[in-house]
Subunit: 426 residues, 2 copies
């Protein structure tokens, strides 16, 4: 058993070596980094059996310890899933290089040439739980953007993660880069995470991915910069002047296409003017799809008229990201009340409006403060791939640095180059 | 005497009202926000006597309590300084509107129109000390970028800050906007700052400005997103193949033009190949300018040969941001050793190289990890105005969100607008 003090020292040592290794990627071209990822994909392909075997051990241990079916599904890797992880690495390798882009620049009146260019962040930490696929994504995205990465994927997936990290190490060796570019700290437990979060000056960014509890813990403990991700208490508001056929499809898609994801809808808000016309149909379809309705008084009444089961919604329902086959439903007076409800309960992820009225749309899109506003579209489109960013490392629900799906560019920062010819400041 | 608990409740109440007030700026045009700033400038101009009188009270109290001359100078406002503060507000009003800019967008293959636009951050907190000018800048920059602002300018400048905030309140009333867009929490002391830093979900960003101690405290306590600013342990490296005439001017400018600022040079690194040629002249000039030299062994020897006073540099000298008439000087073997020294001691602000050799320049600019690299130019150019960004709210020395001088755009975030026509995700 290591003491907290010795774990802190160990983690700081790892981070220091990550920082030194990160220097080896500075000045590399996108082509060179692409080669690392291609080697990583080949190593994964060549090591399918070992990865699947390691995962099987993680899986059976966690199954025996009573992990839920949903989590077990995220944990599981079979040969097909491993192959698609390797493909995902190749997709990242095919993305445009995010490093070395001039974001702004000018020749100043005094003749100084100034420009701001994108550069790697340095050392990026990823903290997540029981999702070995995230280990692959994190390594691929970090290396492609020129960063060293420290992963903490949790004890439940420790053997799977270790097998994946081995592939990354072999890939780095193959192209002659230091293996310290990829580090895994699963073996140091929660104390290891704490030490990582306190390693100011050594770790440039930590991204937590997981449930609200994990993210809260990371934010509370972090002394290093953190980007909060993923909690999505997403609303769909159906305006009085909506295309109700489209609205029905959007509600069903946003709630039922995948219930356990952060961009799934959790609350439906319906304008009172169309509630009695719209709700019976949509509640019936949701019920058929196995969704439990938690309704306001008006919703309950409409549901009862159609013999559709409906629980009474409480304050907690409005505030909850279910991540399950549940939906809160509320009738609102108008778009203003919808926006007030959303302002109170939103987690700032994705908020949708169905309306054909320009004034309502303008009011909603300018008033609602969220990473994404879906207009006559499902909340499920808030996704790096869907928005054209390629693979994503998470969906930021904070406002600093990156908001919404984070692609490669979120793992870069900038550097000013101030080029003179003996210039001094008068 | 308020308890910590009641201060926390009070500050959270203020932040909640700031958040509500911030909504009133969403959807305003740049012209409308410009009008607020123009009114603010007029109010300052019209209230010079009251501001100067309030400041005189702050000044004499702090002088009696032994505040240093440098800090007293920063605290002082006379009629001319107040007039130039009003002018600075007008300059911010003349900057391009940072809100509503489309940063990226496309029509997706499925016909979804997606675009990412800049929007105000929401509620911005500024924590600083005894610098009433920062109160004016913070209010102007925050309002122009569509944000509510909460200032904490310290008890030493409390009366000056209060007089300035009064001007902002009258300006807001004049244009019909809520006064809660500007709040000042000086009266709640350090506990007020702590409460502000813990107001997650209410405060979107806190920017500390001040010495290393203040910034460290803020980073340690903050549960809300923070941007570290301003600590500058800046180096100037003179390469073997430098224009030594230019190099002399750059060193003198970087060290002596203003010694108390974050972009002043604190350490001079000189290639061994030109040390005996370059150092006697530069050390002599620095000595004439009243700079105390803290040299390595070789530097001491060269200084002694020219009868120039030179203290022995210790480990602490390399690590210190003097902000005073002191300069550490070290002879290095080559550009690699210069980069290693900088990597060890840099605060990531500005690092300069004087060289005419392309290889040395490339190595230095790609290897040194800092907000700005000055190439054959003084470190003093790392400044919002000098780089063409207009007024700055601080100089970020971290990598997240903003790095280097932060102008208006650093006070914005983005929002994805995902516009469909009944789109659902297959």
């Amino acid at each position: 058993m290591m003491t907290m003090e010795s774990i802190t020292e160990t983690i700081r040592g790892i981070a220091r070596r990550s920082q030194q290794a990160a220097a080896s990627l500075r000045g590399t071209s996108g082509e060179e980094r692409k080669k690392v990822l291609e080697a990583f994909a080949r190593q994964i392909d060549g090591d399918v059996a070992a990865i699947v075997a390691a995962n099987a051990q993680d899986y059976s241990r966690e199954e025996a310890q009573g992990m839920s079916a949903g989590l077990l599904d995220r944990l599981k890797l079979d040969a097909n899933r491993v192959a698609s992880l390797a493909d995902a690495v190749r997709e990242v390798a095919a993305l445009p290089d995010p490093v070395g882009i001039t974001t702004q620049g000018s020749v100043r009146p005094n003749g100084l040439h100034v420009r701001q260019v994108t550069v790697p962040m340095g050392v990026v930490g990823m903290v997540y739980e029981a999702r070995p696929g995230v280990t692959v994504d994190a390594i691929a995205l970090a290396l492609m953007s020129g960063n060293a990465v420290i992963t903490r994927g949790g004890s439940a997936a420790a053997l799977s993660n270790a097998a994946i990290v081995e592939c990354a190490w072999r890939a780095l060796a193959e192209v002659g880069l230091p293996k310290e570019l990829v580090a895994n700290i699963d073996e140091y437990g929660r104390e290891g995470v704490t030490a990582l979060l306190e390693a100011r000056g050594l770790v440039d960014l930590v991204i937590p991915r997981g449930g609200a509890g994990l993210i809260q813990t990371v934010v509370d403990k972090a002394k290093v910069p953190v980007i909060e991700t993923g909690v999505g208490n997403c609303h769909v508001y159906i305006d009085e002047q909506a295309d109700l056929g489209d609205a029905l499809e959007i509600v069903l898609n946003a709630k039922t296409q995948r219930v356990g994801v952060c961009n799934a809808a959790e609350t439906l808000l319906v304008h009172q003017g169309i509630a009695s016309e719209f709700l019976p149909g949509v509640l019936g379809k949701l019920d058929e799809a196995g969704i439990r309705i938690h309704g306001c008084q008006q919703t309950k009444k409409i549901a009862a008229d159609g013999d559709i089961p409906c629980l009474e919604a409480t304050e907690e329902d409005w505030a909850t990201e279910y991540l399950s086959a549940d939906l809160a439903v509320r009738v609102v007076q108008d778009v203003e009340e919808a926006v007030r409800h959303i302002s109170q309960y939103s987690s700032g992820h994705t908020e949708a409006i169905c309306s054909l009225n320009v004034r309502a749309l303008d009011f909603f899109t300018s008033s609602v403060d969220a990473a994404a506003i879906a207009v006559n579209a499902s909340t499920r489109f808030t996704d790096g791939g869907q928005l054209g960013l390629g693979a994503e490392i998470g969906i930021s629900t904070q406002k600093l640095h990156a908001r919404g799906p984070m692609g490669l560019s979120a793992l870069t920062t900038t550097k000013w180059i101030i080029a003179g010819n003996g210039h001094t400041r008068p």
